[in-house]
């Protein structure tokens, strides 16, 4: 007599017990994903890590890296480039995280409402989303910041405004796939209300895809925000900001290369860290 094997749902990789086997790819993915936390800690600790005040001249101007007590040199009025970069990385990192969180929340909400209600609400919300997606986001962000006036908050608002539609699309796609599944029908038959179905039976299934998208997106945002800052659409002059610090000192490039180059390298370091961490999160949640 054939006995039906009980169907065991495999646990997702991130729920399995932690092991420290350095040969297992999963261990490396966990290490990679924890870079998000490490970078956030570094960003939080920027004031402790910086050897000098980023805003105040503390030594001879234009000292080369390693000279005059400056590890990464000093800028044209004698401020410490390393300290300015650490503070700039802190601002860029948190800005990217804030925009991701904003996009995730707004886009997730729009996608959830559209996907779970269907009908004309779905149609209307998705047409608006498509309209946004049909326009070049970075160019639109420039116009929004320019009209609000350049400032850090306005940059965050502007980029969030153009960044959410991507998340709405992804969440809506996942939700409408899930809505056709039997467990949702079962919940409906059991008398669950629409809100309960959306929050308890649809949203948890859509989260992994949204989290993967968000973690792969941090690097893109770091680069996009650095570009806006480079164009002068960020904090105003004395504030340490990576893109702007590079743009303002371009004229020094052929004599004192470190002044414009080091902030750019800091952006690249942030983007690489974010991309490695994002890839690791994807491997953990969704291992092909």
């Amino acid at each position: 007599m054939a006995v039906a094997e009980p169907f065991v749902v495999p646990r997702p990789a991130w729920r399995r017990p932690l092991s420290l086997d350095l040969r297992a790819p999963r261990t490396w993915s966990i290490i990679g994903a924890s870079l998000f936390a490490v970078m956030t800690l570094i960003a939080l600790a920027a004031p402790l890590l910086s050897p000098h005040d980023p805003l105040v001249p503390v030594g001879i101007p234009l000292a080369a890296p390693g000279h005059g007590g400056f590890l990464l040199g000093s800028d044209s009025i004698g401020r410490d480039v390393l300290s300015r970069c650490l503070y700039g990385m802190r601002a860029s990192w948190f800005a990217a995280l804030v925009v991701i969180a904003g996009g995730f929340l707004i886009g997730g909400l729009v996608g959830l409402v559209a996907g779970s209600s269907g009908g004309w609400i779905d149609n209307l919300l998705m047409r608006i989303t498509d309209g946004f997606l049909a326009l070049p986001a970075p160019v639109l962000a420039i116009a929004v910041v320019a009209s609000l006036g350049p400032s850090f908050t306005h940059t965050l608002i502007a980029v969030s405004v153009v960044w959410w539609p991507f998340y709405a699309r992804i969440v809506r796609g996942e939700i409408s796939k899930l809505a056709a599944r039997p467990h949702v029908e079962a919940a409906r038959l059991a008398g669950a209300g629409r809100v309960r179905i959306a929050l308890r039976h649809l949203l948890p299934g859509a989260l992994p895809a949204a989290v993967v998208t968000a973690s792969l997106d941090v690097g893109n945002l770091v680069l996009a925000l650095a570009g806006l800052s480079f164009l002068g659409l960020g904090q105003s002059a004395p504030a340490p900001e990576l893109g702007a610090d590079s743009a303002r000192n371009l004229s020094l490039l052929l004599q004192q290369w470190w002044v414009p180059v080091v902030p750019g390298i800091a952006v690249a370091v942030l983007a690489v860290i974010a991309n490695v961490a994002g890839d690791s999160v994807r491997n953990l949640i969704d291992p092909e």
Binding site: A134, S147, L254, P260, G264, A268
Partner: protein
């Protein structure tokens, strides 16, 4: 018949999106704390002059009427006057567009060449493909402006191979008819001008090309690999076709669709890259224009650049969809 209907629908969608863009730019202008009358007349103007100017600009009419006038202006190519240059924005844009168009087009060509090389090298497992891939990936993680800066340090300062700024170093370069120096040089029988323009283009165009190249190359590679594991490829292999024949004769045409769509989408990223990289190379295009407009809050100029680049992006992507539908009847939106 369905083809015609598809083109019609796509065209209608394009017009609606451009209208929405115009409405968004108009709304931003209204939301902006900057008063256009103040910007035109300065702080010392009398009450009467301000009222007269408000009336002349139509700012005392209802907002819907103002939007109607704005749209009518756009249709006639009127984008308002720049606060900074005091000239019509359209005139300014016409002066700056050719440089940007030339740079963006060259960047797109370089991005496509790199993407195709990347996708085929890793699909065919050519020796050194891994290294090439790593190089491209690193390049795509580096901000555009830093790529430009590294290029200048290496190829201008260290090797002295390439110029570091501007479009040309030839004083009497021909002006017209296309205003694209590479083409004008050829049309005027001046290959030296074309060669010089190409040398100026190479660094900024490569800097904006790397990010899109990786994005396009990834899509192309994954659809190439997807097609290679399909049944018709197995049949072709069983018939004894070589891998090269299979790839070029069967697979490429089926695999290219997603990459073409991605190319259209990457144009947006490329426009943003152009605006940034023009600062680094002192390239006399829209990026320089918008960078000079941002510090003085010259909103009509910024709005003009946004409308122009936004519409170009929408039109390019509509064209990509139509071309794809013509090439592959399976595609429908």
């Amino acid at each position: 018949m369905t083809q015609v209907r598809f083109v019609g629908q796509r065209f209608a969608a394009m017009v609606i999106i451009v209208l929405a863009l115009a409405a968004a730019v108009f709304a931003l202008q209204k939301m902006s704390p900057l008063d256009p009358v103040h910007a035109r007349l300065g702080g010392q103007a009398s009450q009467g002059a301000i009222a007269a100017e408000r009336h002349a600009l139509g700012l005392d009419r209802p907002i819907v009427t103002q939007f109607g006038h704005y749209l009518a202006g756009l249709v006639h190519g009127d984008l308002g006057d720049s606060y900074r240059t005091r000239r019509p924005v359209t005139t300014d844009l016409l002066a700056y567009v050719p440089a940007t168009a030339e740079l963006a087009a060259t960047g797109l060509i370089i991005a496509l060449v790199l993407a195709i090389a990347f996708a085929f090298a890793s699909t065919l497992r050519v020796r050194g493909a891994g290294l090439f891939r790593l190089g491209l990936m690193l390049g795509a993680s580096v901000p555009t402006f830093l790529l430009g800066v590294f290029g200048i340090l290496l190829f201008y300062q260290h090797f002295g191979w390439l110029p570091a700024s501007g479009r040309t170093s030839i004083g009497n370069a021909p002006t017209g008819p296309t205003h694209l120096l590479t083409l004008d040089g050829l049309l005027h029988g001046r290959p030296d001008v074309t060669w010089d323009a190409l040398k100026h283009l190479l660094m900024p165009a490569t800097a904006i090309a790397l990010g899109p190249a990786v994005a396009i190359g990834r899509v192309l590679r994954s659809s190439l690999e997807g097609e290679l594991s399909s049944d018709y490829v197995r049949t072709a292999r069983a018939k004894g076709r070589s891998e090269r024949q299979i790839l070029l004769g069967h697979v490429v045409r089926n695999a290219v669709g997603a990459a073409v769509s991605m190319t259209g989408l990457q144009v947006g990223l490329m426009f943003a890259g152009v605006l940034v990289v023009e600062q680094v190379f002192g390239w006399p295009g829209l990026g320089l224009y918008i960078a000079e407009s941002i510090p003085v809050a010259d909103f009509p100029a910024i709005a003009g650049v946004t409308l122009l680049l936004g519409s170009a992006y929408v039109v390019i992507n509509a064209a990509v969809d139509v071309i794809q539908a013509a090439a592959d009847p399976r595609i429908r939106v």
